[in-house]
């Protein structure tokens, strides 16, 4: 039996579902496009951004509609007491999801970098709705698990959505901090002077100002040429001097960077601004650290940010260098990512972007040995699918042109007069918070799908162990030599080199049952049979790693003649067995 659940556009304010929505309207006849769910059980519009209540509600509806595939739970509470939702997607009828190789995804660590949440939700929705329709996805969910934490910063997200903000505010979470050191926390934030829900810009007419209006689009202020008379001063983001200290907007909400608060190469603020008082000082950081460290089956991770079109890998600090074996794995995945995500570059944080101490992806790799990427979602490339357009025309800019031609000016709040208590007669106007760093509505689903496809590719490439074959040879005297070839048929190893060197997760176990094991060996050279004995507990051989796309050989000397069963059991690579 299938229950049709409707998630309306009005979901952003879930508490006030219109009465008309109570009875489902007749279904509209349709033909699903290629790659789309034929008959989605949960309707979600993928051209908008959802608040905290809606995220939980989407999770609940997916769970209700797909109880064998989707589960909603909480990994902890935020500073303001919101649940940090986790959506687990796997085929629950085929094994314990916490024992299958798993991909972990989170989004929205920076409050304003919101679309990672929708991309994570879309991923959960898509996998659930495609299950049963697409055999490849069925088999993926049968053998692997996707953990999705749509937002690991629910307080900051709610602030971004519900409070007046710009595309860059707030970056921080909501734990109050005294940003300007005056003894008060969060006492002088932005002010929505024109009450439109957006923090735009302030400008003041000044015949000696540095800016003029562009002749091509008067909304754009461009620097006056040398010798040219100016028209305007730019005065920064909307706000007044709330605390009377002579400064405007100098201590807004929070005042730290949640992505500098992680316990790997954490550094205090004189080295790394925004790192806060100590690593894991924030409850949201702690919730993720605790969850991930309790789930050694997580072999791959993605943490969504915006923006710039990047597939980032660590290290974030120049103090670290990834092991060459691991770089190969990242490279193989990252290059496919560049193919899936036109306009995105696969690059290294410290070398190609900037230095980050105490970043999330560094903790994932450094402390847990997990292959982790961070995608910087959205890029200027998407405006006209051309690179490097910015700066090509002094009088126009791609984002303004895009707004005129494709959004019909909807992204911009027109300049209008305002009487400012400190600055006098000014004008307020500029881009809305939803523009510039987040996808415009019609591109949300497209970009969600491409990024989802990259994470699903990574999920598919997580280690998959197998027992390829078993050889049995009588040694006489009632003794038998049993040889087994153990495989990992995917790109990612069962242990990154970082994991191997620091012994982070347990070794893979290759176990022989049937007969009495006298001795057990890892064969180091299959041509001449050179082997290394494991003296303790030889029936269960401990293998430190099974590399990606490779195999290894083990053997035992056994009293008895079989049949024998060889089982390989890997925390990150699953289990497999063969009997002979």
């Amino acid at each position: 039996m299938r229950t049709r659940l409707l998630l309306l556009a009005a979901l952003a304010s879930v508490s006030a579902v219109p009465a008309a929505a109570q009875s489902a309207p007749a279904a509209l006849g349709n033909l699903a496009a290629a790659g789309s769910p034929r008959d989605p059980q949960v309707q979600v519009m993928w051209d908008r951004f959802y608040d905290h209540a809606a995220i939980g509600e989407i999770g609940r509806r997916l769970q209700a509609a797909h109880p064998n595939t989707c589960r909603l739970s909480s990994i902890g509470k935020s500073h303001e007491g919101r649940d940090i939702w986790l959506i687990t997607v796997s085929d629950f009828t085929k094994g314990d999801p916490d024992k299958k190789p798993a991909m972990y995804i989170d989004g929205n660590i920076h409050s304003n970098e919101i679309q990672g949440t929708e991309f994570a939700l879309y991923t959960a929705w898509y996998l659930c709705e495609m299950q049963g329709q697409n055999p490849w996805i069925d088999s993926l969910l049968a053998t692997r698990t996707m953990y999705l934490v749509p937002t690991i910063n629910p307080d900051g997200r709610e602030d971004y959505l519900k409070q007046p903000n710009n595309a860059s505010s707030p970056r921080t979470g909501k734990v109050p901090r005294d940003t300007d050191g005056d003894g008060l926390a969060d006492e002088d934030s932005y002010d929505d002077l024109d009450h439109d829900g957006n923090i735009t810009q302030m400008r003041r007419r000044n015949p000696n100002g540095r800016y003029i209006e562009s002749p091509e689009d008067a909304r754009i202020l461009i620097p006056a040429l040398p010798g040219q008379r100016g028209q305007w001063d730019l005065l920064g983001s909307e706000g007044i001097d709330n605390d009377g200290d002579g400064l405007v907007n100098e201590d807004g909400v929070g005042g730290y960077d949640p992505n500098r608060n992680w316990p790997w190469r954490w550094q205090p603020s004189y080295v790394q601004g925004g790192s806060d008082f100590y690593p894991t000082s924030l409850p949201e950081t702690r919730a993720v650290v605790d969850f991930v460290s309790r789930h050694p089956n997580i072999a791959g991770a993605q943490s969504y940010h915006n923006n710039g079109g990047m597939i980032l890998r660590g290290p974030g600090s120049p103090q670290d260098e990834y092991r060459p074996q691991d770089v190969q794995v990242f490279d193989q995945l990252g290059r496919v990512g560049e193919r899936i995500l036109p306009g995105y570059r696969y690059i290294v944080v410290w070398k190609d972007l900037y230095i980050v101490w105490g970043g999330e992806l560094d903790w994932f790799y450094g402390n847990r040995g997990i292959v982790t990427f961070s995608n910087e979602l959205w890029t200027d490339f998407k405006y006209f699918e051309k690179a490097n357009e910015r700066g090509s025309n002094r009088y126009d800019r791609p984002e303004y042109e895009f707004d005129r031609l494709l959004l019909f000016g909807d992204a911009f709040v027109p300049w209008k007069p305002f009487k400012h208590p400190q600055y006098g007669d000014i004008e307020v106007g500029g881009f809305k918070k939803t523009f510039g760093r987040a996808e415009p509505g019609f591109l949300v689903q497209a970009e969600a799908h491409r990024n989802m496809a990259f994470t699903v590719f990574q999920m598919y490439q997580l280690p998959k162990v197998g027992v390829d074959s078993i050889g049995v040879r009588s040694l006489g005297n009632g003794l038998t030599e049993v040889t087994a070839i153990v495989t990992n048929e995917r790109i990612v190893p069962t242990h990154t080199q970082q994991d191997v060197e620091n012994r982070i997760t347990r070794p893979d176990y290759v176990t022989l049952t049937g007969g009495t094991v006298i001795s057990g060996y890892r064969v180091t050279n299959t041509l001449n049979g050179q082997s290394v004995e494991q003296p303790r507990n030889p029936a269960r051989l401990e293998i430190s790693n099974i590399s990606g796309n490779s195999n290894l050989t083990v053997k035992w000397v056994v009293r008895g003649s079989g049949p024998f069963t060889v089982t390989v059991d890997s925390e990150k690579g699953g289990t497999a067995s063969l009997r002979k």
Binding site: W264, P268, W357
Partner: protein
């Protein structure tokens, strides 16, 4: 009598390196276990309700409370500058908790009787956290004593998927975990010829041949993996779990920096108490016998070999203190040595995830550290010079050699003579012996402990008197005519310590001294209504400030200066 030098564990601080097991075994029952310490603290809080408050800042994984006792009287007890004394983050260092508790007790008892103490407690707040790692401290407090460093978190030190499965064992039943050696012609160790209880590496260049192998701590191979005591009870060493120089994936360093509830509870306590201006740390790290200095260096090299200055985004952490802070650390060390009469001490343990380095390098506070007690200098043995195992006058074992001399004369129980023990799996003769657990850290009862408590109390009192104090001085209102006035004032620091460390100014922790001029309706023409000052040195030095403003003759304006760590000074100025 003979004792042993046990093998070093690379991760141990240098001064425990030489002896795996140390300890004073002064009279049994001398050191307080969690229950006795808790009762002592509760008793003080109860008996001195007007001047003492007890709070719990964390509960250890072993279920023990980490407590903080605040002492001091007066209405401003929570807002004036405070000193914090913290001890026993390193589990075996029990003398630290005893110093903290005893000092609190003596100061409270002295209130109303001793005028200096009364004045101090009326003007200064002192916090005591006697035991930051109560689970580990219990290692020294049970029937079998050993130097446990980890808290109650179950841990898999040897990565075999079992936790805490192979700790030391009291093979000889003497209640002390010492060291083990086994006679072995292939061993690399010999008994020192001058100090036969002391083990050292055979000196091949002098033709010596090894006679022993060292097996580490006393104990058997509980889990049959061929190793002795490789996964003892105890998880996180709180004194290695902080962030400065944190050793990622290090044994007993914790699953990650600040993974331990004790570590987080301590930092959250500090955040909640911004008035704590200085901290005295009793533990293995010292900067009072050998004060920290400024040694500018380049920072880390990136993978391409490029280096940037330390203390920057590209160069990473600072490797030594800022130059501007150097004089204060040197001055504190001079005062410490003068006040305590101590002139020579062992080298500090390295800074690696410890409390002391966190307090300065990551939290910007004045942070002073001392072991509190160490084995005093025994009369020199001139025969030691030039003998095998010594390198001229630079004997690498001088600290241990001195300890043998001193213990033999003053505390024979601290030396456990080598004696045969039975160890399953070893066919050769195995012996146990060496320093009693904690002997190098904690003084014997009697004169040593008494004098330690007395000199430490003196220094804590002195340090409490050094806290920064801001006062407004030479406040003037000068008429410029037509209702325009010039206000000038000096913001002086009447304490000894600067109002903040220079590093604290960079961290903006503690907050800088804030100066507010309330013009009461007049208009400020120049100067700032609110400003934050750079650190003001101590000893009455000051920062001079000026404003011009409009105001009616006879009106008043108000000037206020202070920060949580300095107290606040307020002055009303008449325009006349």
């Amino acid at each position: 009598m003979r004792a042993v030098l046990a093998p070093m564990r690379a991760s141990c601080p240098r001064w425990t390196l030489a002896f795996v097991v140390l300890l004073a075994a002064p009279a049994t029952g001398q050191w307080r276990d969690a229950r006795a310490l808790g009762a002592g603290l509760a008793g003080l809080a109860q008996a001195n309700a007007a001047r003492a408050t007890l709070v719990t800042i964390a509960t250890s994984p072993g279920g023990r409370a980490v407590q903080a006792l605040r002492i001091g009287g007066g209405a401003d007890v929570t807002t004036r500058p405070a000193l914090l004394v913290v001890a026993n983050a390193y589990g075996p260092h029990l003398v630290g908790s005893e110093i903290a508790l005893t000092t609190a007790q003596r100061l409270l008892q002295g209130y109303g009787r001793d005028s200096a103490i009364t004045r101090l407690l009326n003007s200064t707040t002192i916090w005591f956290i006697p035991r930051l790692n109560p689970d580990a401290a219990e290692g020294m407090l049970g029937a079998v004593k050993w130097e446990r460093v980890g808290n109650g978190t179950a841990s898999d030190d040897d990565h075999d998927q079992l936790t805490d499965e192979d700790g030391p064992d009291d093979l000889d039943g003497n209640g002390l975990i010492t060291s083990m050696r086994v006679a072995d012609p292939n061993g690399e160790w010999v008994a020192d010829s001058l100090e036969p209880g002391l083990m050292r590496r055979a000196d091949a260049s002098k033709g010596e041949v090894g006679r022993f192998r060292l097996l580490g701590l006393e104990g058997k191979d509980d889990d049959g993996d061929g190793k002795y005591n490789e996964d003892a009870i105890g998880g996180t060493d709180i004194n290695r779990n902080f962030a400065y120089n944190y050793l990622h994936h290090g044994t007993n360093a914790g699953a990650w920096s600040f993974a331990a509830t004790e570590t987080r509870g301590f930092a959250d306590f500090l955040i909640a108490h911004p008035e704590i201006a200085a901290v005295y740390v009793l533990g293995p790290q010292d900067n009072l016998m050998a004060p920290w200095t400024n040694r500018p260096s380049m920072g880390i090299a990136d993978p391409q070999g490029n280096r940037s200055p330390e203390g920057t985004s590209a160069g990473g952490q600072l490797n030594s203190i800022l130059r501007a802070d150097e004089a204060t650390f040197a001055d504190a060390a001079r005062r410490f040595q003068k006040t305590t009469g101590l002139s020579k001490g062992p080298a500090s343990a390295p800074l690696a995830g410890d409390v002391l380095s966190f307090l300065y390098y990551d939290f910007g506070r004045w942070a002073f550290g001392s072991r509190g007690w160490w084995v005093p200098e025994a009369p020199r043995d001139s025969a030691a010079r030039g003998r095998p195992g010594t390198t001229g006058g630079n004997d690498p074992l001088s600290e241990e050699r001195n300890a043998f001399h001193w213990f033999r004369a003053n505390e024979p129980d601290a030396l456990v003579p080598w004696h045969a023990v039975t160890l399953a799996g070893e066919s050769r003769a195995v012996e146990a012996g060496g320093f009693a657990p904690g002997a190098m850290l904690n003084p014997p009862t009697g004169a040593q402990l008494d004098s330690t408590l007395a000199r430490q109390e003196r220094f804590i009192v002195e340090l409490a008197g050094m806290l920064p104090r801001v006062a407004l001085r030479d406040v003037k209102a000068e008429a410029l005519g037509d209702g325009v006035w010039r206000i000038s004032a000096s913001v002086a620091n009447e304490g000894v310590l600067p109002t903040a460390t220079a590093l604290g100014a960079r961290l903006r922790n503690p907050r800088g001294v804030r100066v507010d001029l309330d013009a009461k309706g007049g208009e400020i023409l120049s100067g700032q209504k609110v400003q934050l000052l750079q650190p003001i040195p101590g000893g009455g030095r000051s920062t001079r400030l000026e404003w011009t403003l409009t105001g009616a003759r006879g009106a008043t304006v108000e000037l206020r200066a202070g920060s949580p760590v300095t107290g606040t000074s307020l002055q009303t100025i008449s325009l006349r």
